[in-house]
Every structure is written in structure tokens, then in C-alpha cells.
């Protein structure tokens, strides 16, 4: 089982099957989640990518946007800047969020898999050392427990 290391404090196991979405723009993580037009949706199985596709998300109204993401079965979102209201809404849908990331998609996804995402290299300007902020994004599951099929060490 593959583990993702989050800020050196908690380890989460990637579940049997997991869908990760990253808002994408010009081959990079889209800078603003709230208005991103397209999401790259990657299907993982036991830590290995089985498929990826780009899905258009034209909905701008935050609740409609969250509903669309939920319907797509997204469990984790890696994104750039996200407004507080949007972050609350997405977390309320049970989707985990890794926010304030930037960089080219290939690098970001590869890092996510090796657990290197907390590294400052992928943080947006002005967001270094945001320990507390990241944690809030992770606790986004709102008490629904660890990821499906996961075992917290």
C-alpha cells in the first residue's frame, strides 16, 4: 500500500480506488479554483494511475460547482487559490482539498504520489509555511473518518 506523507505528521493510505481532480489551465494548476473551467480527473487504483481525462466544469455558482464535482466522484482536489466560502462548500461535500498549490500538472501529480506535495516548491507565492492552512484542507472530510479502505498509522 502506498502512503502519502502530509506535512510529516500524518500518513494516509491511498484507498483501493480513488479519484483526484486538479483544475487545469495551460498545462498548470489553475490559479483560482472558483472559476477554473476545466479539471483533470485522474483515476487511481492502489497508487497507480489507470485513467485520466479532462472534464469541463463551466458552473460558476459554488454550490452547482460542488455538486458537479461530487457527481464526478471526486475524492481529492489539488488546487491553487480557493476562496474560503468555496473551501467550506467543497469540504462540506466530503471532498478533501489540498489548496494553494501551483506548478505544471505533470510535476504536481507525480509529487502528490510520492508524498512530496507539502514541499515549498509547489506552494503558491505568499503561502510558504502554511502548516495550519494545509491541515484545515485535509481535515476537510469533516469527521467522516479516514479515507475509504485506509488505515491511519
Amino acid at each position: 500500500m502506498l502512503y502519502i506523507n502530509i506535512e510529516n505528521m500524518q500518513r494516509y493510505e491511498i484507498g483501493v480506488n480513488m479519484k483526484v481532480a486538479v483544475p487545469i489551465w495551460n498545462g498548470r494548476v489553475s490559479p483560482v479554483f472558483d472559476t477554473a473551467g476545466n479539471f483533470l480527473v485522474i483515476d487511481f487504483d492502489k497508487g497507480r494511475e489507470i485513467s485520466r481525462e479532462t472534464v469541463a466544469v463551466p458552473e460558476l455558482q459554488i454550490f452547482q460547482r460542488c455538486r458537479k464535482l461530487r457527481e464526478l466522484g471526486i475524492e481529492i482536489i489539488i488546487c491553487g487559490a480557493i476562496s474560503n466560502p468555496a473551501l467550506s462548500a467543497v469540504c462540506a461535500e466530503g471532498i478533501r482539498v489540498i489548496p494553494w498549490r501551483r506548478g505544471d500538472i505533470v510535476g504536481v501529480v507525480a509529487s502528490f504520489l510520492t508524498g512530496a506535495l507539502p514541499s515549498n516548491r509547489f506552494m503558491m507565492p505568499g503561502c510558504r509555511g502554511r502548516g495550519r492552512r494545509i491541515r484545515r484542507g485535509w481535515i476537510g472530510r469533516m469527521g467522516r473518518g479516514p479515507m475509504r479502505g485506509g488505515r491511519r498509522r
Partner: protein
């Protein structure tokens, strides 16, 4: 760095507007102090980064202002957008852009300035709230006067009579009075006196004991009892039958009532607010409403103006309903088009605010974009097609006048008095214009027999 460059930096760092420049690869090449302050990003972290990842505006992806300016060569001035600060808070800003050229005139990038609008937005919101009172929206002076006296009226516990056409917000006012009164933590019970037949109304208001009539299997408390400790709102009080009026008068006088089939009196610990869309004075004069009851209710009398007498509230109410339905239906409608506002401002609103609310709700069903347009409105609000076309194809002012006079005449069956009245001119003026413009009249015109006999 040369003296001039240092001086330029000092200037840029002293102004309140954020300023940043980008090169042709969209990398930030300069970032002033105000930009640091408004975005929350230190200069060293911004320089060299892609500007969208620093500025994080809602339009970066879809409609970047700098991108448009560099492509078209046209500067953009005072565009309102929202940016995300590093703490996740959306900040409203006003942006302006310009192209950067070197001394040979080659485009080397762009410059964007932005101003924090948070304070302006707060002030605008405060202004809007000045026009809101306990869920009632208005800036009309008569309504504001009513808002002013409501707290005292509420505090006094006296019986209140609210008069106004249907749909003017009588129940909202009753609720406001209840919420401002010492009874605010008690229940507020509404009874529509016109909705129930008399015998049922009596049972509703005063309750009944088991066995009082067939089907009365157990005791049921009446509305007066349910409202104990609170307020009872009697809507359409003019609809009460004479018998009910007597009973109600007694409750107001003695502060007790008897449930049907019961012998014991129950204390009425309620504050009474009544409402009517009829003219109670007239009803009293006609003998349809008891004078003594009228005086008991009419302790404090509030008259609500109809919507057509406070047309300045229409834009406020439109905004209020758009916000309300956006929240309820999860839509993102922002505004109405100017011709919709024109149609609304020129409408009489026999159904008052409730009619306006229904119109907006109707528009919400049809509107898919972010602006409500004329075709989203119910049929009866849309201007007549024929009239529009007629006027827009006229060749000069005289022709417009001729066609319009013709239309008005036709509408009035060629009755010249009626047409003149509608046009707001004297009969002879109309006659002169008809002659001058060469308007053809049918031989059998709409003059009434009396008039025809005259000439």
C-alpha cells in the same frame, strides 16, 4: 540603479494603488508596496512568478484584462473584479491596464494597477441596510416614517390596525411589530379571517372541547390560546361576519373567551394586530362593520402605501428578490436589463410587492444567463409588438406623430374626445393635427350620439 529609477520606485511605493508589471511571458517584473499589501504577497515572492498565480483574479483564466489589452492595444479602465488574498478572502478590486513599450515602441509587456474596493463595498452594503428594516425593503419616505415609529408601537402592546392593498407587506409589518415587542419570544399566530366560513372560524379562533359538535373527539385549543404570551395577527378583519365581530369585540374588551362547547372562560393573554385591504371607515358607514369594534382595533393605525406610490423602491426590491431567489435556487443572476427595469417602473402593480416577487420568480425559471431580459417576463408586462415596430420604421418626427395619433384614435374607436384625452391635448388641437398630418378618418367615427347631435 539610476537616480530616476530609484525615484520611480519611491513614487510607486507611496501610492495607495497596487501596481505591477509583466513581461511577454506573463512573469511579474515589478510589484509595488500597495500590491504587496492588498494581495498579501511579499515582493520577493511575486517577482518572476506567473502573474495569475500571484494576482489570482476570477478573470485570470477566462478574461484576463492584461491579455486583452496586449492583444487589442486598448487599455482597460476601472473594471471591477475579485481577487483571492492569501488567506482565502475574496477582495473586490478595480483594475486598469496599459501596454508597456520600450523607447523604440516595441511592446515589452503590460502594467496593471488595482484599487482595493473593500471599503466602498462595505459602504454600499451599509447603504443598502439603511433601506432594510426587519426584512422590509424601502427607501420611500412614508415607509421610513413607519419604520421610525414601529419600535414604539411594538413596545406599547396596544392593538394595531394595518391597512393596505393586498401584497403590500401587512404580514411583514405585523411580524416586525411582534419581533420588536416585549412578546418577541412568544408565538405569533396568523389567522386569515376571510379564508374560513364563519362556523369553522369560530372553532379555529376559540377552540373547542370534546363533544362540542360531531367530529369533536377531543379538546382542541383555539388560535387565541395558541398565541398565549405572544401575538395574534388577524388578517382580512373586514371579512368577519357580524356575529363574529360581536364575539371578537367581547374578547378585546374582557380579555377572555369561551371555547365552543365549554363553559369556562379562558384568559386571552395576547396582543392583537389586525389587517385589512378594505376601507374600514366605509364599511362602518355602510353598517357592515361594527363601530365599537372598529374603535377597539383602531388604537394605532398604520397605512401602507401601495407599490405604485413608491416606485423608487422597485429597483431595491428587484435586487432583494434576485438575492433571495439566487440563494434559494442556487443561481447566479446578477441584474435586470434596462428595458426590464423600464417595464417594471411603468407598471401599475395591482398586486403590489407580491406581484413583483412573482414576476421575478417567473423570470428565474426562464433566465439561464446572469441578466433577466424582457422575454423572461410574463406576457402582460411586455410592450405591444405592433406599436414598437410602427414607431421604429417611421421616417421622420412627423410620421412618428402621425402614426402615434392614428394608433391612439384606433384604440379609442376613433372617438375624438377620448383620443384627445389620452393624448393629453385639446380636441381642437387633435383636429388640427389630423388635418395637417393628413390622417385618414373613417366616415363613421366613434363620436357618441350626443356629440354627433351637437355638430
Amino acid at each position: 540603479m539610476s537616480e530616476a529609477e530609484k525615484y520611480a520606485d519611491i513614487i510607486l511605493d507611496s501610492i495607495a494603488e497596487g501596481v505591477f508589471t509583466v513581461d511577454l511571458n506573463w512573469r511579474i517584473t515589478s510589484f509595488n508596496s500597495a500590491a504587496e499589501r492588498i494581495t498579501g504577497i511579499p515582493r520577493e515572492e511575486a517577482i518572476g512568478k506567473i502573474c495569475a498565480e500571484v494576482f489570482k483574479a476570477t478573470i485570470c483564466e477566462s478574461a484576463c484584462a492584461l491579455r486583452k489589452t496586449i492583444q487589442t492595444g486598448e487599455p482597460i479602465v476601472n473594471m471591477e473584479v475579485t481577487i483571492l488574498r492569501v488567506d482565502g478572502e475574496p477582495v473586490p478590486v478595480s483594475i486598469s491596464t496599459a501596454i508597456l513599450k520600450d523607447k523604440d515602441g516595441n511592446v515589452i509587456g503590460g502594467v496593471e494597477t488595482f484599487r482595493d474596493l473593500s471599503e466602498v463595498k462595505e459602504l454600499r452594503k451599509e447603504l443598502k441596510e439603511k433601506h432594510s428594516f426587519e426584512d422590509i425593503v424601502s427607501k420611500n419616505s412614508r415607509m421610513l416614517e413607519l419604520f421610525n415609529i414601529l419600535p414604539d408601537v411594538a413596545e406599547s402592546e396596544s392593538t394595531v390596525l394595518i391597512e393596505g392593498e393586498s401584497g403590500t407587506g401587512k404580514e411583514l409589518f405585523a411580524k416586525a411589530i411582534h419581533n420588536l415587542s416585549p412578546r418577541r419570544n412568544g408565538p405569533m399566530i396568523t389567522v386569515n379571517c376571510g379564508a374560513l366560513p364563519e362556523n369553522l372560524l369560530e372553532a379555529e379562533l376559540f377552540g373547542y372541547k370534546a363533544g362540542a359538535f360531531t367530529d369533536a373527539r377531543k379538546d382542541k385549543p383555539g388560535r387565541f390560546e395558541l398565541a398565549a404570551g405572544g401575538t395574534i395577527f388577524l388578517d382580512e378583519i373586514g371579512e368577519l361576519s357580524p356575529a363574529m365581530q360581536v364575539k371578537l369585540l367581547r374578547v378585546l374588551q374582557e380579555r377572555t373567551f369561551e371555547p365552543l362547547g365549554g363553559t369556562e372562560s379562558v384568559k386571552a393573554d395576547v396582543r392583537v394586530i389586525a389587517a385589512t385591504n378594505q376601507n374600514l371607515d366605509e364599511l362602518v358607514k355602510k353598517g357592515r362593520f361594527r363601530q365599537d369594534l372598529f374603535y377597539r382595533i383602531n388604537v394605532v393605525r398604520l397605512k401602507l402605501p401601495p407599490l405604485r406610490e413608491r416606485k423608487e423602491d422597485i429597483p431595491l426590491l428587484v435586487d432583494h428578490f434576485i438575492e433571495k431567489f439566487n440563494r434559494l435556487k442556487g443561481k447566479g443572476i446578477r441584474t435586470v436589463s434596462p428595458d426590464v427595469m423600464f417595464a417594471l417602473m411603468n407598471h401599475n402593480f395591482p398586486g403590489n410587492v407580491r406581484e413583483l416577487e412573482n414576476i421575478i420568480e417567473h423570470a428565474f425559471v426562464l433566465c439561464q444567463g446572469d441578466t433577466i431580459r424582457i422575454n423572461h417576463l410574463p406576457d402582460y408586462l411586455r410592450p405591444k409588438q405592433g406599436a414598437e415596430k410602427m414607431i421604429s420604421t417611421a421616417r421622420n418626427l412627423e410620421e412618428v406623430e402621425a402614426r402615434y395619433i392614428e394608433e391612439v384614435l384606433r384604440r379609442n374607436n376613433y372617438n375624438r374626445s377620448a383620443a384627445a384625452r389620452e393624448l393629453g391635448i385639446h380636441k381642437t388641437t387633435l383636429w388640427r393635427k389630423v388635418k395637417k398630418l393628413g390622417i385618414k378618418l373613417p366616415s363613421m367615427d366613434g363620436r357618441t350620439r350626443k356629440e354627433r347631435l351637437k355638430d
